[in-house]
Subunit: 306 residues, 2 copies
């Protein structure tokens, strides 16, 4: 039995937003810009760089406008930013962003704790925002959080994930990022949930956003690949977690994902050496070890291993 | 597309041997015995407990006879030990072991550096040993190391893995443990190599021995499950590595494997809480952090997450 693997996939780098938002020490704007430049150099063309959430809620990302002013725009890269409401959209618009992201959850409790709205309220709030953004030529990605297990509510119903994914796409999002927020999923979860979703939504409109809490993230990527998913989120160095999600640890690390893909002969356009420099850069600025499997290897003495 | 998953699999716990042999500080025999008792309590019924290699080569395991004298024997558990030669077999026999393991490699250079024999010489050396062991009613497992990538020779030919696996089984081994010694493999490697092997050898005689250097071990377990493999090696806490293999890091951690299996509804007979106690015990005695994903989680403050 041999699977049909794709020739290439798209990585969405979320470290600067989903990663750094969990760092308690404020990272200077210039350091963020330099990290993003390292990521661009490594070949990561889609990067979620910040969030236009209220500065009081996430002080780490309060410099969104200043950061975007420092970033090089080109046709070959696409920056996105999280936008929680119309006020955030006005800020994003001033930065001439071509892509934004919205965020809700499969779990009511998680939505309440994270965005202080019910899920239904969040959909109502996003409707005019997405309409406005698309009218201005800006594309929209939607995160659907806690699609498998919620730290407060436990197991999530597949039907709810399907229903909410469709609602988000109906709002005008072009892509829904099915998120394993606390990294609890195994390949059987991916098969069940993504399999059901694919009966209603084409694979091109689905991304997988995985966390590596229990080491299952790459197994879940492979399950996604087998189902036809071609877009995967990851975070340089495995930066991340979620301040509102007890039990969440880092995002799937970009370098671990890139290793898997390269070993499987699936192109993703990323240069591993440049990616290592990006991780080393942010580790030195954060003054801490990173959580990826590669980070640990990179800290070892050089050996004869290639 | 949904796969057919098995109801249960067998875990072979290799921490006491493959893990501890890489610890530079000598672990007291009584501590090893207590670790093994913890592992038995957790439900791990097949445990590789030590090696009858020359004490000068691996001082950590020089207490093999003393250790085995301390271990409780019962019909419900099976201890095995690595046996490198006839002299080792005589020591193992004195301990009334019911199962031994032999070890060679797909890579000539790796075999030379690890067991100081060519691969052909190792097969010749094991032939009388295996015959003798089986005559005495002792079953034999065979490790085939560096089946995917050798740290010295690079990529390994699939045909060589198939040929040597057959040779080891022809010698009288009942099982060959296909080993990703430096943890370089991805699911495509598993498909290619195990797929070819399955044309000649039934799945029941194949085990997968994986290392988690780059985070691909669980993805490789899933690839193995999809191919019909039902026996997987792992090491409590992710103990391990290989002193002769630059680039090797810890074995796949038993707790990470157990989590994956339990989440996939595949029985393995292991109690996670008891396994956590086993890991905490050996970590406290080694005085260091362990490398499993679960270890990191277990060190976090208790949360509302289940």
């Amino acid at each position: 039995m041999s699977h049909h693997w794709p020739d290439k996939v798209q990585i969405v780098e979320v470290g600067p937003r989903d990663g750094l938002q969990n760092e308690s020490v404020i990272v200077p704007t210039a350091v963020k810009a330099e990290l993003i430049q390292h990521l661009l150099t490594a070949g990561l063309s889609q990067i979620e760089v910040t969030s236009f959430v209220h500065p009081r809620l996430v002080p780490q990302l309060a410099d969104a406008n200043e950061l975007l002013a420092l970033l090089p725009r080109s046709a070959s890269n696409q920056f996105s930013a999280l936008v929680p409401n119309l006020k955030g959209w006005e800020r994003a618009r001033a930065c001439e962003l071509q892509r934004i992201a919205i965020f809700t959850a499969a779990s009511e409790t998680f939505a309440r704790k994270n965005i202080n709205m019910s899920v239904a309220e969040s959909l109502d709030a996003y409707r005019p925002l997405v309409h406005e953004a698309r009218t201005q030529g800006c594309s929209v990605r939607a995160y659907l959080s806690t699609c498998f297990v919620c730290p407060y509510e436990g197991e999530m119903a597949v039907s709810r994930v399907v229903e909410l994914s469709q609602a988000l796409l109906d709002l005008g999002a072009d892509e829904v990022a099915i998120s394993d927020t606390i990294g609890a999923a195994a390949p059987t979860d991916i098969e069940r949930t993504i399999g059901a979703l694919l009966e209603h939504v084409p694979a091109e409109r689905i991304a997988l956003h995985l966390h590596d809490t229990y080491g299952t993230a790459l197994a879940n990527v492979v399950a996604g690949l087998q189902l036809g998913i071609r877009t995967f989120d990851s975070s340089c160095g495995g930066l991340g977690g979620c301040p509102f999600a007890p039990g969440a640890s880092g995002n799937l690390a970009t370098e671990d994902l890139v290793y898997l893909l390269q070993r499987m002969n699936i192109a993703c356009g990323v240069d591993m050496s440049a990616l290592q420099r990006a991780a080393a850069f942010i580790a030195s600025r954060l003054g801490r070890e990173l959580s990826s499997r590669h980070w640990k290897r990179w800290q070892c003495k050089p050996s004869t291993t290639t």
